[in-house]
Symmetry: C2
Subunit: 465 residues, 2 copies
């Protein structure tokens, strides 16, 4: 009969040890398949343990399929065909070895300043939500987000973006990148998507990664080139009319109406309006959204709290045209909402109590001062006279045109050597030649206040005429 | 000269009112395109406002493209071609009118009991995180999740699931549904996916919605049918070997090794192991994961905190085989992590302080008692003698086989009439005929404790022999 030692089994339970011994013997072939295992009682007696111990071990072996039972006869070793062990040694990946480069100042990142996040208010609201809403917090969110948050977003959009939408048009998700993918599932894999050139490589990458046909559509002075998209049969445009990145341009209303005219010519055509930082127009009123002049239900409006609140809070939303709501529900309503109810309720309270509006106003002032200070530092530096600033009114970046003989690559490399991460406008041109060399895109939201002077000075020192 | 009234403009600023008047006149054609607007000074005098007011209105009109400026000459109305207004009246969608059905008890939902969520601990940890980690909370999460959480998940997997993985193999995302979509992007749109039949319709829907070829693969007694997947050229299998839903079956180790053998035959083949509720085996030890016997790097393990903690906290993760890490990073590393840092840090603290393990143990006891009580209620009801319970050892559901002449549809309809939401096993068969009529799937995690007796009694009253 099988015999196992129960000496030195440490804190393991007796039945666990017995289970492991038998399992090993079955896998190693020491107990051939179809071998009948000893009866519980006899085995227990032989091993000097209780029958319950043997019974528990057999039950676990049975559950996992190492043995099978024949009623009234007993337990038998199962027939297990283990493939040969592979000799593959897990390789350490390069990803593991990637060290995060740290710079003295980073003019590329859109990181927000941690000191400006309203931690105490957020913490207070979250505590309140946990205390008051324990039942609601455990209720699964509707597929499109909780009512409370969708209602608040509608109010906000009506007050600040001229968008009149009902809460059922709103869809909440964990970041705009996730929403792009959902839109592909909604609008179709057979559609042709177009993104702006110059523009974010990432947006293009996301469409390509979702396995759809995507093209870079060149921009002229007024925005995306309509002749190009007509000629190349684009169906869905992804644009940022209120503040284009990286050029900072605002699409004039004439081009907006032309685009609406283009869209209304076919049922397949839609415009995704990515309004990622419209809250931060630093001069005058916000630019009205494209959605607000859309009478033919062609615009899918998208915005995010990652820019306006914190890049690490993953809450974004889109506004669907009314005729797409049912379509969306029928096609994609089975998905669970990707944002936790804890954060949805906290954000709803944050907006409804007026904190969001206050935060935006405070941040707008903060960014305006910051921008002014950076510009004044530039004007006091050796860049003065060889540089020109443009597109400084909107959003959290501006353009710094430099009169230099260095190539853009040299500018970036030289800045990095001085501990400054920088990027040139040419970096954002993908299918067409860059018409504006020597232009640095200054993303200033993440630069620490007490590093601005030094950062500008280092940047200036990186540039030779 | 243009004249506008400034009477009754309410709380609007003067320049805003002026901007709106001019904008309307340009859009309506009252100011034809290329018309020169009055000079600021003369216009201000005429309107009885300050020059700054006119200037601000003109700047806003300029920014939005309603006017253009010719240096040293002035401002001109732009040429705007507005399409005809569509008469489409936004229709109210059916989605808006969907009322959430409420039942006395719901045996279909996997909702967790709000009273069992450790609110006070979670709240305390979150407060601590907000106080202590303000800088980290504002740092963008790496694409695969914060280190702290990935390390804790590795420890947990090693201790409780026999999985030895390094933190860089872990990828954190907002729900398993989101992760399925990412895996399609990683493994390829040209692959053939197979899901279990019977099984969750939702998993199949997600693959179809991601526009890939997906097939239902029938299960035999031991799990997914290998002959079928060979014959139908499946590349990627999506299975739940440790606890299949809805049958409750555990895949025996023999079939597990056969599957590993199948997978190792081609570079294209992978197995997605969806280990959604393995924490809740109520008898004996947890069933080891398929990943733990994978020596050829073919298993992508996936699990979620939505079952073990709360369905409304959207944190899931997967364990990639080492050779896929670089691949994943290169293809999909540009995506931002979809889970907010606030929740990632809180969960990491929750696990590292031992609360997660305690919670799981407490919940396992709670569910065991709950299950026992429901089973005893069934045995005391009129179902006694005409029903049989099976697969009650694992996870948060069991099967109730009923001896009745009613069809499954009649059973469900009759239960609903009595305020009980129920679902039959046959509901989960999609491509093959159901071999087990009259079997109710009892999901008990969400039933309120004080409603169990009444719920079982109502269910029993719904069934006629």
């Amino acid at each position: 009969m099988l015999t196992y030692s129960f000496v030195d089994i440490g804190s393991k339970k007796l039945y666990e040890h017995l289970y492991e011994c038998i399992k090993k013997d079955i896998l190693d072939g020491n107990i051939p398949s179809k071998t009948r295992l000893p009866s519980k009682r006899a085995f227990a007696k032989n091993l000097g343990v209780s029958t319950v111990t043997v019974e528990n071990a057999y039950e676990q072996l049975l559950a996992e399929g190492y043995v099978y039972s024949v009623p009234k006869i007993g337990f038998f070793a199962a027939d297990i065909d283990t493939p040969l062990k592979s000799n593959a040694v897990p390789k350490m990946s390069a990803a593991a070895e990637r060290a995060q480069k740290t710079y003295f100042a980073d003019f590329v990142s859109n990181q927000t300043n941690p000191k400006k996040f309203p931690f105490s208010v957020w913490s207070k609201l979250m505590r309140g939500v946990i205390l008051d809403k324990s039942a609601e917090l455990m209720q699964n969110s509707p597929y499109n987000g909780i009512d409370e948050l969708r209602i608040e977003i509608c109010r906000y959009l009506a007050d600040f973006r001229g968008i009149s939408a009902s809460p059922e048009q709103i869809f909440i998700g964990a970041g705009t990148e996730y929403l792009y993918g959902l839109l592909v599932q909604l609008l179709g894999y057979d559609k042709r998507y177009a993104v702006e050139d110059p523009g974010y490589m990432k947006v293009y990458q996301i469409y390509k990664s979702n396995n759809v046909d995507c093209t870079f559509a060149p921009m002229d002075e007024n925005g995306i080139d309509i002749e190009y998209i007509e000629k190349h049969n684009a169906d869905v445009l992804h644009i940022s009319p209120s503040h284009h990145y990286p050029t900072g341009k605002i699409m004039p209303v004439s081009r907006r109406y032309e685009l609406m005219g283009w869209a209304s010519k076919s049922d397949n055509r839609y415009i995704i309006e990515d309004d990622y930082d419209s809250e931060f127009r630093l001069m005058g009123n916000p630019i009205p959204s494209l959605q607000s002049i859309d009478v033919s239900e062609k615009v899918i409006y998208m915005n995010t709290f990652t820019k306006s609140l914190a890049s690490t809070i993953r809450i974004s939303y889109m506004v669907l045209p009314p005729h797409l709501i049912n379509n969306f529900y029928n096609k994609l309503g089975f998905y669970s909402c990707t944002v936790s109810t804890f954060e949805q309720y906290t954000l709803a309270a944050f907006i409804s109590n007026g904190y969001f509006e206050k935060h935006i106003n405070r941040m707008r002032n903060y960014y305006r001062k910051k921008r002014d200070f950076i510009m004044s530092c530039i004007n006091k530096s050796s860049l003065e006279g060889i540089s020109k600033i443009s597109e400084e009114s909107s959003g959290l970046h501006f353009l710094l045109h430099i009169d230099t003989n260095m190539t853009d690559e040299e500018v970036v490399a030289s800045a990095r050597k001085n501990g400054i991460n920088a990027v040139c406008l040419s970096h954002y041109f993908h299918s067409i030649p860059c018409t504006c060399a020597h232009t640095i895109v200054i993303n200033y939201s993440g630069i620490e206040d007490d590093r601005i002077e030094e950062a500008v000075s280092r940047l200036a020192n990186s540039i030779k005429k």
